[in-house]
């Protein structure tokens, strides 16, 4: 027998002590009161009325009542446990697998999570009223593990729900002789379960059709052509009739019907060139789909029309040929004397030339003469050494500057007022060889050297640089694709806006902006120099394969959950009530002489 307030040895000792004390009190009963009477003459005649046997029985009855009363009170102090009253108090650790697959609904309409919660509730109820329960989850969202009363554990249970992000891990579960540990899982997540933990399966097969890949990209051959790639995956145990619907703004709709075999996937390429720019939303629809997290995916279509580029140069064959060969570029070449400010171009490239007024569109300048709107490349250095380049800057992406030799270059020293100007390439003590401004006005990129004074035009990365520079100048927002969860954007101090237009909390750590994407959609991150759009999707075949369970094919191991306690109180309450009843009986029967 278990006792909550005493160890079993102490409890039994207490009971024995109380019983011994009561018996001793009865045996050591004080001598009868001596009462002086005038004469025993009449009393002696009543001796026959004395009934020693009855008196002996009364003595035993009284002793029994006293023992029952005393032992009831003493037993109540020990807080014993009885299965019929309040259940057996135990310490139970319940680990709930709250990974996303637990949200999958089976044919009965109930999700695995609902099965798990129901099972957990029964397990917790079996802990007894005085039991202690620790509720844990595999995504670590239950806070600090602690032993709590069953009702608090049930409240914690109600606050949990399957998560859509995060990696499921087996939490540290306390073990011990008097601790039961249960893991309720569907077996999809890979959990390292210690052997002392009882694993209970809540797996039920669920139908799921998912989008496991979705991206919109310009055609490599022709950047003016835009394509969306969609991969549809049928994770169900049977073939599914699926409809894929791609929608965009301004009524853009495309749909396709397909039949997917069980476990099969289909890749679809959809031409979305007609969709000029904006967010694409792809959705799969199938009857009986039991897992909705992965039914929708988002993509972003960037402007993909031909870029009109103006090259102003006195003559630079390398540059002209390189620009001409860039895909999606319509190049216009003119002499510096012919230059007039105009809005007919998407970008400008100035070779050894700079207009007196900044152009309305972005400009890439090589060895510009001094103008007011550009930082002055005051000092001319021969054979400057590139000592540092900003790898996080889009202009430096995919471009190696190690092999670039510069014979002569002007070096720019930025002043304090050039807050929106970044040094992309630095030489010496941080003087700029290549600087770029990404403020609210038109962007510009200025190189302090001419292509003739370096071998940069000979480098394989030169076309990449040119292409990247033109994209950076013409398209202010870059596009990133990420999964759910923590999203890291490679620039600091970014302000994040969610798909619904509301701000999202973000932190800047070590030059990066980090935020938590809890839902699919297109997020916008913008700082004073950078801006990017982050497409967040649930596109992971492993995520969507909700029937990939180690319990698949096996019947659910339904553990014999203990029944709910019959009474909502502990046995000590009943024992005290019994003691009170016995005292009342004693008072009624003896003190009031009812039994005599």
């Amino acid at each position: 027998m278990n006792f909550l307030a005493f160890s079993p040895q102490a409890a039994y000792a207490l009971l024995a002590g109380v019983a011994l004390l009561i018996v001793l009190m009865y045996c050591l009963k004080p001598r009868p009161l001596r009462v002086r009477v005038a004469s025993n003459l009449v009393w002696r005649t009543l001796a026959t009325l004395q009934q020693p046997v009855l008196d002996r029985w009364r003595w035993w009855l009284s002793l029994s009542l006293a023992l029952a009363t005393g032992l009831s009170i003493a037993l109540a102090l020990t807080r014993p446990q009885a299965p019929a009253l309040g259940g057996i108090a135990r310490r139970i650790a319940v680990v709930l697998d709250d990974s996303s697959s637990m949200a999958a609904r089976g044919p009965d309409g109930s999700s695995r999570w609902e099965h798990a919660v129901d099972r957990a509730r029964r397990i917790i109820s079996g802990a007894g009223l005085a039991g202690e329960v620790m509720v844990l989850d595999t995504l670590g969202r239950t806070g600090t593990p602690e032993w709590v009363r069953p009702e608090i554990a049930l409240a914690k249970l109600r606050a949990l729900a399957p998560g859509s992000t995060g990696l499921a891990r087996m939490p540290l579960v306390p073990t011990g002789e008097h601790i039961e540990a249960h893991l309720l899982t569907d077996g999809v997540a890979h959990l390292d379960v210690p052997p002392e933990i009882a694993v209970e399966s809540v797996f039920v097969p669920a139908d799921n059709v998912a989008i496991t890949a979705f991206d919109a990209k310009p055609s490599l051959r022709d950047p003016t052509q835009y394509q969306a790639l969609v991969q549809v995956f049928n994770a169900s145990v049977r073939a599914k009739q699926v409809r894929l619907v791609v929608t965009g703004e301004n009524g853009f709709v495309l749909d396709r019907d397909m039949i997917l075999p069980a476990g099969g996937a289909i890749n679809q390429t959809i031409d979305v060139t007609d969709y000029a720019v904006g967010v694409l939303r792809a959705e799969v629809r199938a009857a009986g789909d039991g897992f909705g997290f992965d039914d929708v995916a988002y993509g972003l279509v960037a402007p993909h029309r031909t870029k009109r580029v103006l090259l102003v140069t006195a003559g630079n064959r390398y540059l002209e040929r390189s620009l001409e060969r860039l895909p999606g570029i319509a190049l216009t070449v003119m002499k510096p004397a012919q230059y007039r400010a105009t809005a007919d171009y998407d970008a400008n490239v100035f070779d050894r030339f700079a207009p007196t007024e900044p152009p309305a569109q972005g400009a890439l300048l090589f060895r510009p003469p001094p103008v007011t709107w550009l930082p002055a490349f005051e000092r001319t250095a021969l054979n400057p050494v590139i000592t540092r380049w900003d790898q996080s800057h889009p202009l430096a992406a995919n471009v190696s500057w190690r092999g670039v030799n510069i014979q002569r270059a002007g070096l720019a020293r930025l002043s304090a007022r050039d807050t929106q100007t970044d040094v992309v390439l630095a030489s010496g003590a941080g003087e700029g060889v290549l600087v770029a401004a990404g403020g609210e006005g038109a962007r510009w990129i200025a190189a302090g050297f001419a292509l003739d004074d370096s071998n940069f035009a000979m480098q394989p990365a030169f076309p990449v640089f040119l292409g990247g520079a033109l994209v950076w100048l013409t398209d202010r927002a870059a596009i990133l694709s990420r999964g759910l969860g923590h999203v890291e954007v490679p620039f600091a101090d970014g302000k994040v806006t969610g798909p619904d237009g509301r701000p999202v909390a973000a932190v800047s750590i070590r030059g990066a902006t980090i935020f938590d994407a809890a839902r699919s959609g297109v997020f916008t991150v913008a700082s004073h120099t950078n801006a990017t759009r982050v497409v967040v999707n649930v596109i992971d075949p492993q995520y969507s394969d909700v029937n990939r369970s180690r319990f698949a094919g096996a019947p659910a191991a339904v553990a014999a959950a203990p029944g709910l306690p019959r009474f909502a109180f502990e046995p000590w309450v009943a024992l005290l009530a019994l003691a009170v009843a016995l005292l009342a009986f004693e008072w009624l029967a003896y003190t009031r002489y009812r039994i005599i």
């Binding site: 009868p32 009161l33 005038a38 004469s39 009449v42 009393w43 008196d55 005599i596």
Partner: protein, 294 residues
């Protein structure tokens, strides 16, 4: 200085009473009770023929003129009544509040005073296992205070043995009179042996039985008790229960009824006096109502 046994007012009211006896007075002195013999009383009793030597003053001359024969008028002799007041002073009489002993000697004092007022010869005998003290032959109203003094000096103690006391007292010839026995009659030998002695002496007896509430139900007796006899210290263990108390009350009532029946059977007076009542009420009302006092 003992407090007075009886108040002056009570004594004044006792002056109008006299003890009733079923038997003619056998006293030798002039008293107020009718004697069996004829004599010099005022109440006419009978005629008898004149014999020489009779006092001529007692000849009824009217009868002689009518029938010419001499008759002497006889008158009822008025004698005193010998009153023997036996007061039980055994230890059992000391029980109760007030004690039966105090109650008894007040009654004894009251009855003695009535006797004194009526010129009776009053003997006060304190008895326990035997005769403890006695004051015999007190007569006259002026004997009240010595009698009261005697009663006040008495103390209770010893065993009850009325038989021995009566036998001892009446071992010497005593004039027949009224024997008043004031006792609780809790004689270990029973009440009958003692009263049988009086019956054999053909005495007129007034049995006053004193009962205290504690005789019915011992005070402080609860559950398991040892009842200690006040006289012989004999012990008896009882578990006091309502049923036992009820049985005891019935047995005690039967005991009282037996005494009463014995007295009635012998033509004696009997009165049961509860000590929680007043002596005045007992004497002035209860005893008069029973015809024991007139």
């Amino acid at each position: 200085m003992h407090p007075p046994l009886l108040s002056h007012d009570f004594l004044r009211r006792l002056d109008r009473l006299r003890l009733a006896s079923n038997e003619p007075a056998r006293g030798h002195l002039k008293g107020l009770h009718r004697a069996k013999r004829t004599g010099s009383g005022l109440e006419f009793a009978d005629y008898r023929p004149y014999n020489p030597g009779d006092d001529l003053k007692s000849v009824d001359w009217r009868t002689y003129l009518r029938i010419e024969r001499l008759f002497v008028k006889l008158f009822v002799e008025e004698a005193d009544l010998p009153i023997y007041i036996f007061l039980d002073t055994s230890a059992s009489m000391g029980m109760g509040t007030p004690s039966k002993f105090d109650f008894g000697r007040k009654i004894a004092a009251a009855l003695a005073h009535v006797g004194f007022v009526n010129m009776d010869r009053v003997s006060l005998i304190a008895v326990a296992g035997n005769i403890v003290q006695e004051r015999s032959g007190l007569r006259g109203k002026n004997q009240s205070w010595p009698a009261f003094e005697f009663l006040q000096r008495l103390e209770c103690g010893g065993n009850t043995c009325l038989e021995a006391a009566f036998k001892r007292y009446f071992a010497v010839p005593r004039a027949k009179g009224l024997i008043v026995v004031i006792s609780d009659y809790l004689d270990p030998a029973g009440f009958e042996p003692g009263l049988r002695v009086l019956r054999n002496l053909r005495q007129d007896v007034l049995a006053l039985q004193l009962v205290s509430p504690g005789d019915f139900e011992p005070a402080g007796a609860d559950d398991d008790v040892i009842l200690v006899d006040a006289e012989d210290n004999g012990e008896i263990r009882h578990r006091i229960t309502p049923a036992l108390l009820h049985a005891h009350r019935q047995a005690f009532d039967a005991h009282c009824d037996a005494i009463s029946a014995y007295c009635v059977r012998n033509g004696w007076g009997h009165a049961l006096a509860m000590t929680d009542a007043s002596v005045e009420a007992l004497v002035l009302h209860a005893l008069r109502k029973e015809g024991l006092l007139r």
